[in-house]
């Protein structure tokens, strides 16, 4: 419903602008007609790729007198064979292999040795282990599933509030897209022609802030609801011994992020190292069976196909719109509106938050960025900074009801109890994410300090 209101608001703004003479030189009513058609198809459940691609071609026939259709083939081919995009299936493959590798259980146990004495105890381990797993995997679903399956049994028959347990795991899982190497950032880079490496560098501080704020939420919860002291003291030698379990994770992080940040490898190359590394550790754990390989390959193929088809549709639409100069015109028009830029940015953030309740993050990015991005640039915001913002907003989409994939993964893992437990438990953590968004709005330098 919110999305509908926002949509009507924008439509009103558009009509008002056209009546007061701010409108660009292309006919406004056909555009409104097409936008309504677009919205109608979305609501009717038409495949997103089909909406984008077919709409692109229809728009081309209505508005363009050039033979734009002759270029669709090469647009589709260059999109499908893009070197930047290769990082996507590779990171997906790495996530699938890690899911089956057993590396995560070791990581969780090792971190728990050090963190269980803090107020909030094991809950901190949830966030910390999710954050570390996210640094190897680009997928929030893989992060939530792997860490959730290791963590949930640890909380059985304990005094921990199960809503906070689930909430912290959902919040930690959602970190998967923000903490490099995230797949959403790759898609954003592809759509906007920005550097994946730059985006990864910019995501570091915001990711650290979200992690800290989530730990803060648990700290406060721990102080308010103290748990009885278990009395168990693990001797230092045992702690140090247990910490060895963290080594595979550290090696993988060094292999992927270390090579990117060190300037030794492109994100695509780093992703390839990651697959090789994940396969190696799965082999050591005895989990690298033919079946595991086949299933990982099939899952990566399916998800890449899903992304690929939508991207092809989006690039066809993008090509037509750009050749008609629509994004440039819309951007110019919005920048000319007699409101300050931050109001428009705030409106954009609200639109994403509203969309996030009904749409899954990736399709949200692909359908909006081609039009929103020129506006943002025209307003003078940094492209890299906006990429981090969008990713944060997508993560919130992953943990807001009713359509938050990460929460369904956790619900599936625990099998009993209502899903509303997770909905309630995650709310304070959504607050932590929102706090970082507000901070980034006021201090863009937080994202840009390492560029």
């Amino acid at each position: 419903m919110i999305i509908l209101a926002v949509f009507v608001l924008f439509l009103g703004l558009f009509v008002w602008a056209s009546l007061t003479g701010h409108a660009p030189d292309i006919a406004i009513w056909p555009i409104i007609g097409l936008s309504l058609l677009f919205a109608g198809c979305f609501a009717a459940g038409v495949y997103i790729a089909a909406i984008l691609g077919v709409l692109g071609v229809v728009t081309g026939f209505v508005f363009s007198d050039r033979p734009f259709y002759n270029f669709i083939g090469s647009v589709a081919w260059t999109t499908s064979s893009n070197y930047v995009l290769i990082a996507l299936p590779l990171f997906l493959l790495m996530g699938e292999l890690l899911l089956r590798s057993g590396v995560s259980a070791k990581l969780y146990k090792a971190l728990n040795l050090w963190l269980n004495r803090l107020p909030g105890g094991l809950l901190h381990t949830n966030i910390a282990s999710c954050a570390m797993f996210s640094a190897m995997s680009g997928s929030s679903i893989a992060t939530a599933a792997t860490m959730g399956s290791v963590a949930l049994p640890q909380f059985e028959d304990t005094a921990y509030d199960k809503r906070v347990v689930l909430g912290s795991l959902a919040a930690g899982g959602a970190l998967g897209s923000l903490i490099p190497p995230g797949t959403i950032l790759i898609i954003y880079a592809l759509l906007t022609n920005t550097s994946v490496g730059g985006l990864y560098a910019a995501a570091l501080v915001p990711a650290a802030l979200v992690t800290l704020f989530c730990i803060g939420v648990i700290f406060v919860h721990g102080l308010r609801h103290p748990l009885p002291d278990s009395g168990v003291r693990v001797p230092l030698s045992a702690k140090l011994k247990g910490t060895v379990g963290i080594v595979p994770t550290l090696i993988l992080i060094a292999l992927v992020l270390g090579t990117i940040y060190g300037g030794l490898a492109t994100p695509t190359e780093a992703a390839a190292f990651g697959v090789a590394g994940a396969a190696f550790f799965a082999l050591i754990e005895g989990k690298l069976t033919l079946r595991a390989l086949n299933e990982s390959a099939l899952a990566a193929a399916r998800n890449t196909a899903m992304v690929g088809l939508i991207l092809i549709g989006a690039f066809v639409l993008n090509y037509v719109l750009t050749s008609l100069r629509v994004p440039q015109n819309v951007a110019g028009m919005i920048a000319d509106l007699p409101v300050p830029g931050w109001v428009i940015m705030a409106a954009i953030v609200l639109v994403y938050l509203a969309m996030g309740t009904i749409m899954e993050g990736f399709s949200m990015v692909v359908t909006t960025i081609p039009v929103i991005f020129p506006v943002v640039v025209q307003l003078g915001y940094d492209p890299i900074w906006f990429g981090v913002m969008v990713t944060l907003l997508v993560e919130i989409a992953l943990i807001t009801p009713p359509d938050g994939t990460v929460m369904y993964v956790l619900q599936g893992l625990r099998k009993s109890g209502p899903i509303t437990d997770i909905f309630q438990g995650v709310i304070p953590f959504v607050g932590a994410y929102l706090a970082v968004i507000v901070l980034l709005l006021f201090f863009p330098g937080l994202a840009l300090m390492f560029l």
Partner: protein, 204 residues
Amino acid sequence: MDTVLTVGTGLRRAIEAVAKVMALAAGWAYLATALFITGDVLARKFLGVSSGATTEISGYLLAFGISWSLAHGLAERAHIRIDLLVEKLPLAARVWAHLVALLALLALIAILVWSATNVLEETLLFDARDLSALRIPMIWPQGLWAFGMFMLALFAFALTLEVVLLLAAGRPLEIETLMRSRTAEDESEETIRALHEAEEETRA
């Protein structure tokens, strides 16, 4: 009527089986890409040799991977639709929404197949090769890529045919099973199954 429907379902299932094998090949192509890039970087660093076409070859493997798993993606209902409103419709209306979605997808596929054919024709006409050191003839990667699109077209057509026949036969529940979009629950179930399988294998 029933015979026609049986033939339609059989056709769809047959293409689905082929599509699954193709998607598996696509997934292994990604594994191969990872090994190829890793090997190439290591060789460049330590031996000073490189294929001289890493970017191109991995790009071709990606194009192959994407297009060869498109049909399987459709069969597994992985292509994204916003089903929030559709789910709330009564079954009788929902089946029509499914059909409309399929027809729109067919329109996109028709555009893509037509465009891919154009690309192939042009490549053949100019005997195009890439700019890498290997001067690979473009017809190979582009031919494989276009073939994936044709398979998607074939499968989407068979699926639409089956849905239309089921609609005519008044069997909406089966349409729902075929077309119901993949929910977050489906997605998580699959991930969790993968986890459990990995655990079982350790025990065994």
